[in-house]
């Protein structure tokens, strides 16, 4: 019998914004691996480099026993980041992309992506985007791969609630999560294929390491994967979200879905496995239309309005949210459905302000600062 902890770990990345020009100056990134947050500058000429030169926030242990604990830690983390950045007269925004800053002007490269850059050249330079990574403790590795296989199906549904990158280098892309398009150009991204066992997954990863395709297992970046070091399953499909309540609702949804998959397993049942191609079709719809389109229900082979399918998912994971004490946080998902995702909100602001990008940045900053 499996008894996963369902512990929670949340990794976030924040944009540092120039209060006058609203340009992206740098970003704050966090890594569960070193329990620290590090400020990276976008342009070495900016004063930012000096001011933040040794600005490292100690984020403390990232492991949270439940969503209440995660809420505390996330609040503290965002508070610390805001304090640090505001003390230097800058602003903070949390979103999948910056609405208008140009990647071409970016002289420095995301450090985590330096190895990627050598290998991926121009594609890596395109990637100036920010994601939310949610870790759920599933200690048994075989079980983690089992949940990964089955849970792939609902990742597009979850993404629809967590889109925040409709703009790119000053243009309305027509998509709700352009960040996912940017990332999926890299190798080993997107919806993963099916793996029969953890052993098979390891064999795949080991083959790539042995053949120098990547330096280590951290370079596998599928939308869901067993973490290479921690005993967790990581979901990395979501855009960074400005509204903290959105982040917690998404986290609660992911955690409850994992619990649901494990429960099915314990009762000798399994969520049906569909081909990667079919799930990718839904992912495309999520990227393109977010909450305002349809998703395919492959059980009944019909396209249904996305909110209908998400409400169905929420209903099915509800009993698990109750057990995990996350009902309140999960309930906010209904608010997102009615209000629209961050991408919808940004598009609304853009339309009502004569298609100007600066008000969108101001909106993102205001949303991110609302943590009181």
């Amino acid at each position: 019998m499996y008894h996963p902890s369902f512990n929670i770990g949340i990794e976030e990345e924040y944009q540092v914004i120039d209060p006058q020009s609203r340009e992206l100056l740098g970003y704050v990134t966090q890594s569960m691996a070193n329990e620290q947050m590090v400020v990276r500058e976008r342009n070495p000429d900016a004063e930012l480099a000096q001011r933040f030169s040794d600005a490292v926030i100690n984020a403390g242990t990232p492991v949270c026993v439940d969503i209440k604990d995660a809420r505390e830690k996330l609040l503290r983390m965002r508070h610390d980041v805001l304090t640090l950045v505001q003390a230097n007269d800058f602003k903070v925004a949390a979103a999948g992309t910056h609405p208008f800053s140009h990647w071409e002007n970016r002289p420095t490269i995301l450090p985590g992506y330096r190895a990627v850059l050598d290998d991926a050249q121009m594609i890596a330079r395109r990637i100036l985007c920010f994601g939310l990574r949610v870790h759920i403790g599933v200690e048994d590795r075989e079980l983690a791969v089992d949940v990964m296989n089955t849970m792939r199906y609902v990742l597009p549904h979850i993404l629809c609630l967590a889109t925040s990158s409709p703009f790119w280098v000053g243009r309305n892309t027509g998509l709700k999560s352009y960040r996912n398009v940017l990332l999926d150009s890299l190798p080993r991204t997107g919806i993963p294929g099916f793996f029969n066992s953890y052993q098979e997954y390891r064999a795949y990863v080991d083959t790539l390491i042995r053949t120098n395709s990547m330096p280590d297992a951290s370079q596998v970046r599928y939308d869901i994967i067993p973490h290479y070091r921690f005993p967790t399953l990581v979901v990395r499909i979501c855009d960074m979200l400005p509204d903290l309540r959105d982040t917690l609702a998404i986290t609660a949804l992911i955690q409850a879905t994992v619990a649901w998959m494990v429960d099915l397993r314990q009762r000798n049942q399994q969520f049906r496995i569909y081909e990667r191609l079919l799930i990718a079709e839904n992912k495309w719809r999520a990227v393109r239309y977010g909450l305002s389109g349809t998703l395919l229900d492959f059980g009944i082979e019909q396209a249904l309005p996305t909110p209908t399918l998400i409400r169905e998912l929420l209903e099915r994971v509800q009993p698990f949210a109750r057990k995990l004490n996350s009902e309140d946080e999960l309930a906010h998902a209904e608010t997102i459905l009615q209000r629209g995702s961050s991408a919808d909100q940004q598009l609304h602001i853009w339309h009502t302000n004569g298609q100007a990008m600066q008000p969108v940045v101001d909106f993102l900053v205001a949303e991110t600062e609302k943590i009181g």
């Binding site: 050249q121 993963p192 990718a280």
Partner: protein, 372 residues
């Protein structure tokens, strides 16, 4: 018994139309559109999404020799037509500097529909490929061959690479086209379909869900054609030189014959996971012939040139049987002196980064061997 495939050949190519003065892409197809339809001229030219792009296809050819004659006729026709209209034809998978944002869209309803559905991604699709059809009348064998031949696609992509530039920058890749196309759903290396029924199920599901009207919207690197009894190889960048295009078509033909013979001996080439083959595909896009690819049998990196030579040896008997040695000769030259991408990069380096000189070089190479 599985009947011997006819191994007929058909080649489709997508050409760029450029202005000989500015060397930028120029709208062309609109001159042949009247009243929402393309006016019939002596040969069929198919419009594409971008008005500066045309697609043409050869008739069904029984032999590689015939295919060469037809391709010469086809390229000569479009080159003469272009000359009449005072423009020039370029066969390369990307234009060195023209920007996709600036390109007018072909004013036909179906393209306006594509643009609406795919948004910014469709506009980015300013890329040019070569599709080679090989006649396989037995559908069961066609699917079997598709599964197995996936393994060799990256090797052949490496030979065809012709898109090192994108919107005026050196991308660091040899085939930027193959990365741009991966933004689209249903693209890239196919997943394993064990049987024709598996494939039909997949397509059927997508059709019943209303995602695609028919299998023509499956854009994999290799696919059974939805109408013709052919296996369609779509992985290649368009080759600038006609002799190189024909060499690649001849390799595809010999490969299919080789697979058919193996099949009759109850042997199959090993079928690997899509994720692994994607790794080689990435290496082909990135390094062309200059890199290494993984030999998954040995789980070892091997220089790509050596693997291509091994591949030619593997199908040597079939090449001899088909009498196509002479047509495959240019491959040796490519292995020694590089692909179109390498030659473009050399022109770029020797002219101090003059992209107009690269376009002039492409115009000249595209004309080689034509009847003008």
């Amino acid at each position: 018994m599985i009947p011997r495939p006819s191994l007929s050949i058909g080649i489709e190519e997508e050409y760029q139309i450029v202005d000989p003065e500015t060397r930028a892409m120029r709208s062309f197809i609109t001159q042949f559109i009247d009243d929402g339809k393309v006016i019939m001229i002596e040969r069929e030219i198919k419009p594409e999404l971008h008005a500066s792009m045309v697609e043409m296809g050869t008739p069904i050819c029984r032999t590689v020799g015939e295919a060469l004659d037809e391709l010469v006729k086809q390229r000569s026709f479009i080159a003469r037509l272009a000359r009449e209209k005072e423009v020039a034809v370029v066969a390369a998978a990307t234009h060195p500097f023209s920007r996709w944002l600036d390109q007018p869209i072909t004013p036909l309803p179906r393209y306006i529909g594509v643009l609406e559905e795919m948004q910014a991604l469709a506009q980015r699709l300013l890329i040019f490929g070569m599709h080679v059809h090989i006649g396989i009348e037995d559908r069961t064998f066609a699917i079997d061959a598709m599964n197995v031949v996936r393994y060799m696609l990256p090797h052949i992509l490496a030979l065809s690479t012709s898109s090192p530039f994108w919107t005026g920058r050196r991308t660091g890749l040899k085939s930027y086209r193959s990365v741009v196309f991966e933004d689209f759903p249903r693209s890239g290396i196919p997943d394993i379909c064990r049987t024709a029924a598996d494939y039909d199920n997949l397509v059927g599901t997508l059709q019943r869900c209303g995602v695609i009207p028919d299998a023509s919207k499956i854009w994999w690197d290799v696919r059974p054609h939805h109408k013709y009894p052919t296996l369609e190889f779509r992985i290649c960048d368009i080759c600038t030189r006609i002799d190189e295009a024909i060499a690649i078509a001849a390799i595809f033909q010999a490969l299919v014959l080789w697979l058919w013979k193996l099949r009759r001996q109850n042997v199959t080439f090993r079928v690997y996971r899509r994720d692994l083959i994607e790794e080689n595909r990435w290496r082909a896009s990135r390094y062309g012939l200059d890199g290494k690819m993984i030999d998954f049998g040995k789980t070892q990196e091997v220089p790509t040139r050596q693997l291509v030579r091994e591949l030619l040896e593997l199908i040597g008997e079939e090449i001899a049987e088909l009498g196509t040695e002479a047509y495959i000769k240019p491959v040796e030259n490519m292995l020694n002196h590089g692909t179109s991408a390498d030659r473009q990069l050399r022109v770029y380096a020797s002219t101090d980064g003059d992209l107009k000189a690269v376009v002039d070089h492409l115009i000249a190479e595209t004309k080689m061997g034509l009847d003008l």
